[in-house]
């Protein structure tokens, strides 16, 4: 059984990799930009999965890392004249350092308290950036424009996003095979037991939060450079956190490829609905998410990995297993 799941995982992965590399060469600028955006959400959802899925700490403020990443790049490039190649890793590191500083006190909280604290951190950061002079306050800040043809710019951003996503997934994959990964899962299952077995829970949790922050920060940097202009209101938007959580859940929490599949399918569904229903799309979209959570709470990954046979029985079994 396990073997069967593994093979189809490989097949999906293979298809995704080939499609991922081929897409920009066969499509127009809009599709490239669309997928660049979808990849960004795949990074955010996968990064959230490290702290929310594997460690079991549902962060409701992960957007703060996107925002910090975006602003570190904007301020360094615009005010400091720093080239992108330095601003980009600095953004990831900036978010990671912030995650460590904030994580030390906040990761002592559990459950709802942690969720609310992280939510507060993101809102506080927004208020701070709103009022700082160096970030040009709530009127927003420009970034330098890249000196390349339109198509070349979009291909550049696409592959950078794809690269960051690949890095996120590879690091997560390697982490899962190491002591760190097992430690995090142990913390998720029973933190006290993990602690008593010699897992340095604080160190592990903070590392997990910092990794989550690092990848989100890199995504933020790319986002800001592509948009060319950012505002606190949009890069610290709590709606983005909600979106990455919904994507992770939709695809399958605590699985490597789940958040990626969730992000891609949610972005595509949302795009198609928006295209056909100018206003009612929010209604249909909400309905789809509710149905998905009710019938397939373990996400798409649970279906495609083929551990269980997909059919009416699968759906009914899910309802029986997860009813409140």
């Amino acid at each position: 059984m396990a073997q069967r799941g593994d093979t189809s995982k490989k097949v999906i992965l293979g298809i995704l990799i080939i499609a991922g590399i081929a897409i920009p060469f066969f499509t127009g600028n809009f599709i490239i930009r669309f997928f660049t955006n979808a990849l960004m959400f795949a990074i955010l959802a996968s990064a959230w999965n490290i702290i929310g899925g594997y460690t079991g700490y549902a962060s409701f403020g992960n957007v703060v890392f996107l925002g910090i990443g975006a602003y570190v790049s904007a301020v360094l490039m615009e005010k400091g004249g720093v080239p992108f190649w330095i601003a980009f890793p600095a953004s990831g590191l900036g978010s990671a350092v912030f995650a460590v500083l904030i994580g030390l006190p906040v990761l002592r909280l559990k459950g709802h308290y942690f969720a609310i604290a992280t939510l507060g951190v993101a809102e506080a950061m927004k208020a701070l950036v709103d009022n700082l002079d160096i970030t040009e306050g709530n009127s927003g800040i420009y970034l330098p424009v890249m000196n390349l043809s339109v198509k070349a710019q979009y291909i550049f951003f696409y592959f950078m996003m794809l690269g960051v996503l690949a890095l996120t997934l590879i690091v997560t994959y390697v982490m899962l095979k190491k002591k760190l990964g097992y430690g995090l899962i142990a913390i998720r299952e029973d933190e006290e037991a993990a602690g008593s077995l010699g897992v340095n829970t604080t160190l592990f949790k903070v590392t997990s939060f910092a990794l989550s922050g690092f990848f989100s920060g890199l995504a933020g940097s790319l986002y800001a450079y592509q948009q060319g202009f950012i505002k606190p209101e949009s890069v610290f938007d709590v709606g983005v956190t909600v979106k990455m959580i919904v994507m992770a859940v939709f695809g399958g929490i605590g699985s490597l490829l789940g958040p990626l599949l969730g992000a891609l399918s949610i972005e595509i569904i949302s795009e198609v609905l928006t295209n056909y229903f100018l206003v009612a799309h929010t209604l249909f979209f909400g309905a789809i998410v509710i149905l998905a959570i009710v019938f397939t709470p373990k996400g798409i990954m649970d279906i495609v990995s083929g551990r269980k046979k997909f059919g009416l029985n699968y759906l009914l079994q899910n309802i029986r297993d997860h009813r409140v």
Binding site: I15, R33, S139, G140, F229, I268, E271
Partner: protein, 406 residues
């Protein structure tokens, strides 16, 4: 069989992805149509105001099409607007502008609502060298980068008090000094900073430049300062509530200046109701109000536009609505003058725009923002009248002292 089923699942996923991608492409192209693209907030935080633009753009589009469309050379073109919902989100909006240009192949772009969304959109427009005329973003930031493809029909916040100060400087004897107070809000700060610059250029001394802390209802300290500095005019950039408090306390403390003017408040019915007779002679500014009367090129004049608008949508249009009509008026005039649908030629024609619209005269600064056209209002006899430049009534200056009023 087993292997096949593994592959089939993968293929199924791939199939769904590509099926949906094909579904994303829409394309119907009719001849003799000028296609405009607009990503507007149909849903989300900005949708309330977004709707004002949508209603107005549709009304103006119908009016153009009914009256023979837009003439390019000898041919008449109908106007078609492709709308998308940007969900009040700047990244969504920029993506949709991309879609409008690349997939829908629109000829020209109409702006979204709010400055924060307009800027990323304008960057996309610039990349593709397609002009965008927007009526929903007033921030100077939009035009700070000298993007040649963006034109805005809302005057800059910093220009709000320009007409007021020009009027003030024209009075005899010429006023010497003013006091400027402003709310703790980015918009109000820009208004005040801009007003300070203009006042100094006009030779008016700014004797007081002070921020009012947010939510404060107590103006005693500020008014005491005003009393001792005795400026000729007191200008306030703030909200209606604060304006009401300021006037009440100025009366109580018997602070007499020759003119009190505020950004918002005087044009609102609530302001006049709360203050009653004390609202008399207070000045206000507005970029547009339905009372004004300008000749238009899509609608005959402002009055007719207001009448048609109210008949169709059953609410009073405000400056957002009028600004949206101006967007299409600018395009109609520019395309007809350019005699072509070439984006570059139309852009150049837009830059040279000098037209009358129901929104007022439209002319752009070299940076693309409209030349400030806010008008001065004054409350006289319980009604708001436009008093400068050109108005239904003459401004009453200086305003009578509190003790001398009946």
């Amino acid at each position: 069989m087993k292997a096949w089923s593994k592959w089939s699942k993968g293929l199924l996923v791939l199939g769904i992805v590509f099926g949906l991608l094909v579904g994303m492409n829409t394309g119907a192209y009719a001849k003799n149509v000028i296609k405009f693209g607009c990503a507007m907030s149909f849903t989300g935080k900005k949708s309330r105001t977004g709707k004002l633009y949508i209603d107005s753009l549709k009304l103006a589009m119908d009016a153009i099409n009914k009256s023979g469309g837009i003439k390019v050379g000898n041919k008449s073109y109908n106007v078609e607007i492709k709308f998308y919902d940007d969900k009040s989100n700047p990244s969504e909006s920029a993506k949709l502008i991309e879609k409008l240009i690349v997939e829908d192949k629109v000829n020209f772009l109409l702006g979204p609502y709010s400055s924060g969304i307009t800027i990323p959109d304008s960057i996309v427009a610039q990349r593709y060298k397609i002009p965008m005329v927007e009526g929903g973003g007033a921030s100077g930031k939009i035009f700070a980068r000298h993007n040649p493809y963006i034109f805005g029909t809302l005057p800059a916040a910093g220009q709000y008090f320009r007409t007021t100060l020009q009027m003030l400087a024209g009075f005899t004897p010429k006023p010497k000094s003013i006091a400027l107070i402003y709310g703790d809000d980015k918009f109000d700060i820009s208004v005040a900073k801009g007003a300070k610059k203009i006042a100094e250029k006009l030779g008016l001394k700014v004797v007081l430049f002070e921020k009012i802390s947010e939510g404060s209802a107590d103006f005693n300290t500020i008014l005491t300062k005003v009393k001792s500095l005795a400026p000729d005019a007191l200008l306030m950039a703030g909200h209606t509530e604060g304006g009401i408090n300021l006037v009440q306390q100025a009366k109580e403390l018997n602070v007499n200046v020759k003119m009190i003017s505020m950004t918002v408040g005087p044009s609102e019915a609530d302001f006049r109701k709360s203050l009653g007779k004390d609202a008399e002679y207070i000045f206000g500014v507005a970029s547009w109000s339905p009372q004004m009367n300008f000749k238009g090129i899509i609608f005959k004049n402002t009055k007719e536009f207001v009448k048609i608008f109210k008949a169709k949508y059953n609410y009073d249009p405000d400056y957002h609505n009028a600004s949206a009509v101006a967007e299409l008026a600018v395009y109609k005039s520019a395309i007809e003058r350019a005699g072509s649908l070439d984006p570059k030629k139309v852009r150049d024609a837009i830059a040279k725009t000098k037209i009358e619209t129901i929104y007022g005269p439209v002319e752009f600064n070299p940076n693309g923002q409209i030349k400030g056209s806010s008008v001065v209002l004054q409350i006289q006899g319980g009604q708001v009248y436009q008093v400068y430049p050109k108005g239904t009534k003459k401004p009453i200056y200086p305003m009578p002292k509190w003790k001398e009023r009946k």
